[in-house]
């Protein structure tokens, strides 16, 4: 116990003395949490549209103003030909082209049907299909209005209609930051934990001070605890600032569920994450190696955690990877507790699995960490 006290005192001194590292541990994550969630928004708005109006009729003008006033589209320009409009797409000035054929109004009345042509820049498939769908909706809406106008009161009300009422629970306003903040919080804490822990231990290897420790009667678990506890506390601290300061103070996200439950999970999660850092350090001789390994795994962890894309949509082999990733579980738990107020009973499995990770990573690391060779 007394040995541990001396080890902890040394670690804290070293961490707090390092003026170059301190801001990176404490300020960088918070700063990023303030900015990154604002950038993560799937809602497609401000779609730039180029209109090629060959008709110049009342209808075509009405339709264009309808599109304009919808709020989704920004009129990039009126082009005289499709080729001109296509140039706008090539230059990234516009995302979408709507071409209204010559005689649109006349033929709609005469032939009962007319066709518009839409071309979408589909490099970003999601944005393209959403943009196309919005435009089609607006056109359909205009079409319905027009029909009512033209046919006066006919018997369209006799058509069977299914009314769909949709409700969005837990996040009625569909605020995307509510979804992103809990996830990004977890990623930042994971990065700090893994990098700091792995680099710190390897640094002692590189400078040779670990040899000095190894010839002393310090027990293996004392040394490891001495490394884990400070970073564990730093993780808890950053989480608290993120939760109460940034999530609540800035984004106005008030956890619906039990905050104690979150901290309980955080406690286990941090042990698992630091275990990964420890494991990386036992496989590395130099800081560069530790960094390379940590970078590689962090990248995979972040992408395969359901932070940006849904895990359920992945193919089966990828879901297996996601399930082996501790971040996946904490992101899920953080979102569930903060947004939905899930209870311990809902999260039993998550706790169990995270406990398993913590035990496996740390045991593996301790077995692999040798005082003697």
């Amino acid at each position: 116990m007394r040995t541990l006290k001396f080890l902890l005192r040394k670690e804290f001194r070293q961490i707090f003395r390092n003026r170059a590292l301190l801001p990176m541990i404490f300020i960088m994550p918070i700063l990023q949490l303030l900015v990154i969630p604002l950038a993560a928004d799937y809602e497609v708005k401000n779609i730039n549209i180029s209109v090629v109006d060959h008709d110049h009729s009342t209808y075509s003008r009405e339709l264009i103003s309808k599109i304009h006033s919808s709020g989704y589209f920004r009129l990039a320009d009126y082009s005289n030909s499709f080729n001109d409009a296509f140039k706008q797409i090539e230059n990234n000035k516009s995302d979408l082209v709507l071409e209204i054929p010559h005689g649109f109004e006349r033929n709609l009345i005469r032939e009962n049907s007319q066709q518009l042509f839409i071309a979408v820049n589909a490099i970003n498939g999601i944005k393209a299909s959403l943009g196309g769908a919005y435009l089609n909706n607006i056109i359909a809406g205009y079409n319905a209005d027009l029909r009512v106008q033209l046919t006066e009161v006919q018997k369209f009300s006799r058509r069977p209609t299914i009314h769909i009422t949709s409700s969005n629970w837990f996040n009625t306003l569909l605020n995307y930051t509510y979804f992103m903040v809990p996830g990004i919080m977890v990623s930042l804490i994971t990065m700090v934990g893994v990098y700091m822990c792995a680099l710190n231990i390897v640094k002692e290897k590189e400078t040779g001070t670990i040899e000095q420790i190894n010839v002393t009667p310090i027990k293996k678990y004392h040394f490891i605890l001495g490394k884990l506890i400070p970073f564990w506390l730093i993780g808890v601290f950053i989480f608290s600032v993120s939760l109460f300061g940034v999530a609540r103070g800035v984004y106005g996200i008030v956890p619906v569920g039990n905050v104690g439950l979150l901290y309980a999970f955080l406690a286990v999660f941090l042990v698992a994450v630091l275990g990964i850092g420890l494991l990386i350090s036992t496989y590395s001789e130099t800081q560069q190696q530790a960094m390379s390994l940590a970078f590689f795994f962090m990248m995979v962890f972040i992408l395969m955690s359901g932070l940006f894309t849904s895990v359920d949509s992945m193919p089966e082999w990828a879901i297996v990877i996601a399930k082996c990733n501790p971040m996946t579980y904490f992101i899920e738990v953080n979102r569930m507790v903060i947004l939905k107020g899930s209870s311990f009973a809902d999260l039993k499995n998550h706790f169990l699995i995270m406990g398993g990770f913590a035990v496996v990573f740390n045991t593996w690391a301790i077995l692999n960490y040798k005082k003697t060779s």
């Binding site: 069977p160 949709s166 409700s167 509510y178 962090m298 849904s310 990828a318």
Partner: protein
């Protein structure tokens, strides 16, 4: 020149003698391409939804059948109260619930109107809106089926063409992004760390007192990463064309030229970081903790930049990978020539000049 080559060779040795560094250098691009190509998708698939069919009549069965045919859903048919639905959401069992009230079909037949309720777990707003829209479309298509036979007058039809990416594949968007991400991060990281390491171990002093020009010492550290990055680029391109069936419409030499500019920008940034830090730890944390998320977000391949609040769009302008991403898309996918991307190229070049100027200035001060 001979001395310079000797230095460069030494740097290559450093890289190739360390399998863990090699894993990051070459394993990461391959892994990222595979993940983005096959695992990550913005589509919503296999979502578990509950159908609470209190009517269980001909109409609802027909709709449920249509839902089943769609691979976005995994359907469980259970009767649940609102309270039970909430429980299921909290447990993460389902993402959406559809409730058909009793008498759905008879209402539809006799009153010409029926109600269906769609409840989504909007803690994930994207999934919630997407799934709700899918359900809405399916119900609408059923409605259209039963009104068939009547021709609708004055119909405006649309023909939509998806340019560049008719199948709406995610890879088309992701691959240029991955290229930008990998080239930038790996170069910044490796140069900054390799220079600071020499500072830390004291070997930098040895090099600086050698009769060799100190600036060449620095440049020789960057050269191997320049070539390794070109190798990486090639690997990414080969994988994406042959494995992911990506189009390659433009001039390959132009792409390599532009890539070289980005690599040099990244190397200069790494140089600046190494001149501003004293320890490997600090250099790594700046390059990783500090740059990973901003690069992921502000390159523009995960989330469209034009959706972001204006201040963030301004911030994105200082991220070099943003400009490179535009360039790659223009060359590879749109097949455009230099005239379409000279502006972006100019921005990258100016960034490089500024970065190099600042870091050499700092370096000179240290030498003096």
């Amino acid at each position: 020149m001979k001395q310079f080559l000797i230095f460069v060779r030494k740097e290559f040795y450093h890289v190739f003698r360390d399998p863990k560094t090699l894993l990051m250098l070459f394993g990461m691009p391959v892994t990222l391409i595979l993940l983005f190509g096959f695992a990550l998708t913005n589509e919503i698939k296999n979502s578990k939804i509950a159908v609470c069919d209190y009517a269980n009549d001909e109409a609802t069965q027909r709709i449920v059948e249509k839902l089943r045919a769609n691979n976005s859903f995994e359907i469980q048919e259970v009767l649940m109260s609102h309270l039970q639905i909430e429980e299921a959401f909290k447990r993460g069992k389902i993402k959406l619930a559809i409730v058909f009230p009793t008498d759905f079909n008879s209402d539809l037949q006799h009153v010409n109107e029926a109600q269906v309720q769609v409840i989504a777990d909007a803690s994930d707003p994207n999934t919630a809106t997407t799934l709700t829209n899918y359900v809405r479309n399916i119900v609408m298509s059923y409605q259209n089926e039963i009104t068939d036979g009547k021709t609708i007058p004055y119909q405006i039809k649309t023909e939509t063409r998806m340019l560049y990416n008719p199948e709406l594949k995610g890879a088309t968007n992701f691959v240029p992004g991955v290229m930008a991400l990998v080239l930038l991060l790996v170069c910044v990281l490796m140069t900054s760390v390799s220079i600071v390491r020499e500072k830390e171990t004291g070997t930098m002093e040895v090099l600086l007192v050698s009769p060799f020009n100190p600036f060449l010492v620095i440049i020789s550290k960057a050269v191997p990463y320049f070539f390794l990055s070109l190798v990486n680029l090639t690997v990414i391109l080969v994988l994406s064309v042959f494995l992911l069936d990506m189009p390659f419409n433009g001039n390959i030499f132009l792409l390599y030229g532009e890539s070289s500019i980005l690599i040099i920008t990244a190397l200069s940034l790494g140089l600046l970081i190494s001149n501003s830090t004293q320890s490997q730890q600090a250099a790594m944390l700046i390059s990783l903790l500090g740059m990973l998320f901003p690069t992921l977000m502000f390159t523009g391949f995960l989330f469209p930049l034009e959706n972001m609040p204006l201040p963030l769009q301004v911030i994105a302008n200082i991220v070099p990978s943003k400009w490179y991403y535009i360039i790659v898309k223009s060359i590879m996918i749109k097949g455009l020539g230099f005239s379409a991307i000279w502006k972006e190229t100019l921005i990258l070049v100016s960034m490089t000049v500024v970065l190099l100027f600042v870091s050499f200035k700092k370096f000179k001060i240290r030498l003096a």
